[in-house]
Amino acid sequence: MRRFLLRLVFVLTLPAILLAVWWAASDSSTDVYWPPLRTILKTFPDVWTVERLRTDAVPSILRLSAGYATAALVGVALGTVIGSYRRVRAVCEPVLEFLRAVPPPVLVPVIMLFAGIGHTMKILVIAIGCVWPILLNTVEGVRAVDSVMAETARSYGVTGLARLRHVVLPSASPQIFAGLRQALSIGIILMVISEMFAASNGLGFTVVQFQRGFAIPDMWTGILVLGLLGFLLSVVFQLVERRVLGWYHGLRATTRRSR
């Protein structure tokens, strides 16, 4: 119980301070683009009604999940292959790096040529943007498997899929999780970008509409919602990570506890 309270204090203190500073600094603002926090918070419940959450948040989150899941699958699978075989890496890396450097807003039209303007396109945009941190981290994690462990597995005939499942992926998992974590917030950003094209609902669509329609306080509430969404997703992510990487955190905590 006490540990829970302590955590709560940690989670809330800094945001509370920042909000207070924002409140104080913006309170007397008359600039339309910098509305007082008071106004923003007052607008919040009017804008983000249950109805709006249902029509905008739900489709966005569904698309985000689909895109993120695709990216995670493709990133880990491709990353494992590329990380395991030097030759494959040599062949693929230039092309991947080439594609990675193309900004999503100019990439979207190209994707639209092949994937249309429906959900597929948006999911694809999210997946294509999210895949890089996962891919890169998986490649590096797979390359860094401890030599003694790799040899142990080899000597016991643990090869192929079993090796992947029991040795390579767990050993790379701390780094893969770093990538997945990165990808989560990139996914939200791309969700917004993808909804700038041919969308008729979604969080990103709404925020962009507010911005275009000069509904500035509404736009700010949208930004807050995106931040909150990111925060919520990261909490979920942490729960998953703590389960999957339990061994790792235990191992690393040996020193931390002893301090």
Binding site: V11, A90, V106, L136, R252
Partner: protein
């Protein structure tokens, strides 16, 4: 060894370009919207002959380099400080997670409001986006320190600073390197996107002009330029990495006979 890798990489790229040529030629998409590689190459040639293109390239690279440098320094320092100072990680976690996913596109009005279409507003977006990449990787990297190595350092009386320098930093370095490569690409993407949307001078602004002008091959030529930039940046990052991480499993495994 190195030559072979280079050849393989070139082969991969060539295959990709061939695909780009084949897809429109086979009629899978109309070449008016997705011009074949050869036509893009022609447009690229025209671009390269234009001095305005080189100015734009210079602008973009300046924005990229400055933004990345600022983000990298800030990200690494913040990452190490947050991990080393007790309780700081717990205290900042929620704020970081809140701020990180705020899309840079939503910050565009803010950037323009503050700095107009100058370089600084591009920088604001670039730094904001790439900072998180490095920060998160650094946080994960520092966490990866081997407990025995850490205890060794402590038992020999290495102070905080020495521990950071000799133990934490080398352990985190592979992660930071990955973060840097991620951030380099993100910084490039954001530089171009910001130029594209805000209109600050640079490649992005040129892409915007090509887009609104329906000059499709020119647009693709410029996209190719950004891709090639990304490629070159990666080659640079890789060679730095090979030198800095000669001891690391991922690098040493490739040298061993």
């Amino acid at each position: 060894m190195k030559g072979l890798n280079l050849a393989l990489g070139a082969a991969g790229l060539a295959a990709f370009l061939l695909l780009g040529e084949a897809v429109p030629r086979l009629g899978l998409v109309k070449d008016a919207y997705f011009p074949p590689t050869s036509r893009i190459a022609g447009a690229l040639g025209d671009e390269l002959a234009d001095s305005a293109f080189w100015t734009a390239l210079g602008d973009t690279l300046t924005g990229w380099a400055v933004g990345l440098a600022v983000a990298a320094c800030a990200g690494v320092v913040a990452g190490v400080v947050i991990s080393v100072v007790p309780y700081l990680r717990e205290a900042t976690a929620s704020t970081i997670e809140f701020l990180r996913p705020i899309p840079s596109v939503a910050l565009i009005p803010l950037a323009v409001l503050l700095y107009g279409t100058e370089l600084r507003s591009v920088l604001l977006l670039v730094v904001y986006a790439s900072f998180w990449q490095i920060l998160i990787q650094t946080l994960y990297g520092v966490q990866d320190v081997d407990p025995v190595a850490e205890e060794t350092a402590r038992s020999y009386g290495l102070g905080t600073w020495a521990r950071i320098r000799y133990v934490l930093w080398p352990t985190a370095l592979p992660y930071v390197m990955t973060g840097l490569r991620l951030a380099a690409a993100v910084a490039l993407i954001l530089t171009i996107t910001a130029e594209l949307v805000i209109g600050a001078p640079g490649l992005g602004a040129r892409i915007a002009v090509a887009q609104t002008s329906q000059a499709v091959p020119d647009m693709y030529a410029l996209i190719v330029v950004t891709g090639v930039l990304g490629l070159l940046i990666n080659v640079g990052a890789r060679s730095v990495e090979r030198r800095a991480l000669a001891w690391h499993q991922s690098v040493r495994g490739e040298v061993a006979v």
